[in-house]
């Protein structure tokens, strides 16, 4: 084997007592794609930041092409031929592709910009690596996949021989991801080396030659991709065997709980709804796929009561839905927002205050504007216990919780209504109100109260985004349990695996428009991908599949009468 183009030797980085990178040694060979895998907080970003010179390692050193790389110097990393494509693009929307590529690569004292030469070089690079591009197009007018191409070209234009891609498929449709993988193959054939950072196991095995897995700052495994299974990778990432929730059909689908008819929202640029219709039934999960930024936030805001429709009607339990979060919560809407840090919790306030913030105005937790601190804290303690929220006590600020624990807190707040007991003045001992084991074990009066107050509609926007595998399984299981208990559940996600795992019916969102919600079995991944890209022709295909299961591509479309009837075209 050839000498490594990049060698990390014994890299250690500490933040206080936290060891973010613990003696990591890693080699990257010429013409190789190395996948760097790990959960949030495993140390991937820190390692890449050290490599690129944003951080200085406490111990260890880096060699690029046999030469030592000076620490803490991004310019040296660039000069050594290391290029980085960030997950969040660093492009100026109002400039052309050529301007963006040239930006920062020309000397300040050069009197004239050499655009002609730059254009020739850009087109040459684009041709060599098979990345077609229009140099004069404004970046703002490009699709997400095209912007990513510009980012990659920018790195190649500067002579990158080693390319680091941070979660490159997070914003792409399945088809765009496939195109990216082809490009990567071509780049490797041209002699480039690539570090591919991801947490999606399937694509890691699909695209890379070798896989390195980080966990808790340590390099726990390094293996050739060929012959490694997803289960094996997951076990390395988490440290123990993982069982993801299995898809199982809804036990019984009930009445319509929430209906959107021809709903549009105003403003918000790309984030708006255009003539969206959707019906959510009790006892089913409807998932919405789509590249984020296509109106999902508008839909979530609308159903969470923080945005009003400009056209069309939204009804909940037969009444018009009111744009008031407090009212929706009392009526039985459980809401899980996309941005748990900025919207889900008030980070500076305590865990217990956040646990009751949605229902603070109910008689259970306040009387004549005075907060019933004992009842509120008891309810918070119950949520913390029933949903296993760890880290920090009830008095510590919510921002001190990890992402997973914060999400459990939000989930508990949304799903657990205060019981009748808590609304009375005389408080029985805590255990009597909240028997261990959570709502399912309640009995007698408490049970009927809980049943009366169980959420009727659950709106979950990206409920597992950024969570580790264990927390993902937990959150998904809770949503399935709530469905089985009779709630109508809407899950908006840009993770296609989640969409397919959870959804009884699936709809796809693009540019503010929503496809029909069809049974999950009626969709192929390819069809969803095309719908995510806004290509309308495929909308007919799933319907055909329903009408005649034998013609669909090897799939059997199981649909009971009511749902099949509903999903046929009007």
């Amino acid at each position: 084997m050839t000498a490594p183009v990049l060698r990390l030797a014994g890299i250690t980085k500490r933040f206080g007592t936290l060891v973010a990178n613990d003696n990591i040694s890693l080699e990257l060979h010429g013409g190789e794609i190395l996948a760097l895998l790990g959960e949030n907080g495993a140390g991937k970003s820190t390692l890449v930041s050290i490599l690129f010179g944003h951080y200085t390692a406490d111990e260890g050193h880096i060699e690029a092409f046999g030469q030592p790389l000076p620490p803490g110097n991004p310019k040296a990393a660039l000069a050594a031929g290391i290029g980085m494509v960030h997950q969040h693009f660093t492009l100026a929307d109002n400039l052309s592709v050529l301007d963006n590529v040239m930006l920062g690569s020309e000397a300040l004292w050069q009197p004239f910009s050499r655009r002609g030469a730059a254009r020739d070089k850009l087109l040459e690079v684009a041709r060599r690596f098979g990345l077609p591009v229009a140099p004069d197009a404004k970046v703002g007018s490009l699709s997400v996949g095209e912007r990513q191409r510009v980012e990659i070209l920018k790195a190649l234009y500067r002579g990158a021989r080693i390319l680091i891609l941070d979660e490159p498929t997070a914003v792409l449709t399945p088809q765009e991801s496939e195109a990216l993988f082809d490009t990567l193959g071509q780049m490797v054939a041209e002699g480039l080396s690539i570090i591919f950072i991801s947490h999606k196991l399937g694509e890691v095995l699909r695209v890379s030659k070798r896989v390195a897995v980080l966990r808790g700052g340590k390099l726990v495994a390094e293996a050739p991709a060929a012959g490694t299974t997803q289960a094996q990778l997951a076990q390395w990432m988490v440290g123990h065997a993982v069982s993801a929730p299995q898809r199982r059909p809804a036990p019984s689908v009930g009445e319509a709980v929430c209906t959107l008819k021809d709903v549009s929202t105003a403003g918000g640029g790309r984030n708006r709804l255009e003539h969206v219709s959707l019906t959510l039934h009790a006892g089913e999960i409807v998932t919405i796929a789509g590249v984020s930024g296509n109106g999902q936030l508008a839909l979530a805001d609308l159903l969470c009561g923080t945005r009003a429709a400009s056209q069309g009607t939204v009804s909940f339990l037969g009444q018009p839905l009111q744009a008031s979060p407090a009212r929706l919560v009392t009526q039985g809407v459980a809401r899980i927002p996309e941005d748990r840090h900025a919207v889900g919790v008030v980070g500076d306030l305590s865990v217990w205050e956040n646990a009751v913030s949605e229902r603070l105005r109910s008689p259970a937790f306040s009387r004549a504007l005075w907060i019933k601190r004992r009842a509120a804290q008891a309810h918070a303690a119950h949520i913390v216990r029933a949903f296993d929220v760890r880290g920090g006590g009830p008095q510590s600020p919510a921002r001190s919780l990890s992402g997973g624990n914060m999400q459990k807190l939000i989930l508990g707040r949304a799903l657990v209504a205060p019981t009748l007991f808590a609304t009375r003045n005389a408080l029985p001992p805590e255990e009597a109100i909240f028997p261990r084991g959570g709502p399912s074990e309640k009995s007698g009066l408490a049970e009927s109260a809980a049943a009366a107050q169980a959420p009727k509609l659950i709106i979950a926007h990206q409920p597992t985004w950024g969570l580790d595998i264990g927390a993902v399984a937990y959150v998904q299981q809770q949503l399935i349990s709530a469905r089985d208990a009779g709630a109508a559940v809407l899950v908006i996600s840009d993770d296609l695996d989640e969409v397919m795992t959870l959804g009884d019916r699936v709809a796809v969102m693009h540019a503010g428009q929503l496809t029909e919600a069809l049974p999950a079995e009626a969709w192929t991944r390819e069809a969803i991908g095309l719908a995510m890209a806004g290509i309308p022709s495929v909308r007919a295909e799933p319907v055909e599949a329903l009408a005649d299961p034998s013609t669909s591509s090897g799939r059997t479309a199981k649909a009971d009468g009511s749902r099949a009837g509903e999903s046929s075209p009007p």
Partner: protein, 357 residues
């Protein structure tokens, strides 16, 4: 050089931070005292004695602390909700004018009311005047996103000109022999003295009482939660069902009202009439006090007395050894900066990074 967030704060840092802050404050002001050519020990000794060293000194300090505590509370409640009210100075004058309008104009005979009732009416009018002055900027911010720092700050100058207009016009005291001052408040409406032979008045009880009320409001009530949640994260507060716009309006009424009361209590307790120099920047100093108190209403009491003591002490010290009273402003400013920096350093550490070759 850059800041890195500390993963945990050591106990030593929490102890050393305030000590370091005091040391830095003394260092900065000592340099200026030495520059003025005065002996250090004597200067500080006189300053302390002038502020806290005798019954008289203490009484003067507490008298000065009354408006400072009230404007400090006004800044505290506003800043808690991230409504940056820089206009307490103008609101204080609005309250003072309203107090005299109700309790002094036409010799107070316009309303034939019992003094007790008139007193309540006077305070209400003062609070309302301050509150209304802040309501405009608050609504502009909530509805149109207009920066309240600019609007409240500029309103201060408008208010001062308005006061000047009033003192030379409708509210002019005919017996003042041309001095720009308003008619005096009715004698019955003046606050009684707390300690005989001193200037401390019952306004101190109002200041202490309102501190406790505001503390309890913020900590134990639903509107208090709304205020804290709105300030910490308006987006998350709105998602949880907090009526954010209504909360901003409430905060404006509270903050402006407190500043207006500061004006009324200053008139009723100390000056008896409104002049153009009745407030040496109490509204602005209130912001410093609120920050020193880390936006804790009970802390405002301590911070208010501290700042008042430094101001009073510096006056007395400069009369004796000729160090300008501006040293008080330096002390207060340096203490604010060093407390803020020390608090920052308990949460972040400074990382020096040499330029890599």
């Amino acid at each position: 050089m850059r800041l890195e967030k500390r993963t945990q704060t050591s106990r030593w840092a929490l102890v050393l931070a305030p000590i370091g802050a005091v040391a830095f404050t003394l260092l900065v002001s000592s340099l200026l005292v030495l520059w003025a050519g005065a002996p250090l020990g004597q200067t500080y000794g006189l300053l302390f004695k002038g502020g806290f060293g005798s019954v008289f000194a203490l009484s003067e300090t507490l008298t000065r602390a009354i408006p400072l505590i009230l404007t400090g509370l006004a800044a505290t409640v506003a800043f808690k909700a991230r409504l940056f009210n820089i206009g307490a100075e103008g609101q204080l004058y609005a309250g003072a004018l309203a107090a005299v309008a109700v309790g002094g104009l036409h010799g107070g005979e316009a309303f034939a009311l019992a003094p007790g009732l008139l007193f309540v009416l006077m305070l209400l009018a003062a609070a309302l005047a301050g509150a209304l002055l802040l309501l405009g900027p608050a609504l502009l911010k909530a509805r149109l996103g207009v920066d309240e720092v600019v609007t409240t700050l500029l309103l201060n100058f408008i208010m001062l000109l308005f006061v000047s207009l009033m003192l030379d016009g409708p509210m002019k005291d005919p017996a003042a022999m041309g001095w720009p001052q308003s008619v005096a408040l009715l004698g019955e409406l003046e606050l009684s003295k707390l300690v005989p032979q001193t200037r401390i008045h019952t306004g101190l009880l109002w200041a202490v009482g309102l501190s406790v009320v505001l503390w309890a409001l913020l900590k134990y009530t639903v509107p208090g939660f709304d205020i804290r949640a709105t300030g910490a994260s308006a987006g998350a507060a709105a998602f949880a069902g907090v009526p954010v716009t209504r909360t901003v309006v409430l905060v404006a009424l509270l903050s402006g009202g407190l500043a207006g009361l500061a004006g009324a209590i200053e008139v009723a307790g100390r000056t008896s009439y409104v002049t153009l120099d009745m407030s040496p920047g109490y509204g602005y100093t209130g912001i410093v006090i609120a920050m020193l108190a880390a936006l804790n209403p009970l802390g405002v009491l301590a911070a208010g007395v501290f700042v008042a003591g430094v101001l009073v002490g510096a006056d007395s010290m400069s009369r004796v050894i000729g160090v300008p009273t501006y040293i008080a402003d330096v002390l207060v400013a340096a203490s604010l900066i060093s407390v803020l920096v020390a608090t920052l350093l308990t949460q972040y550490r400074v990382v020096f990074r040499g330029k890599a070759a």
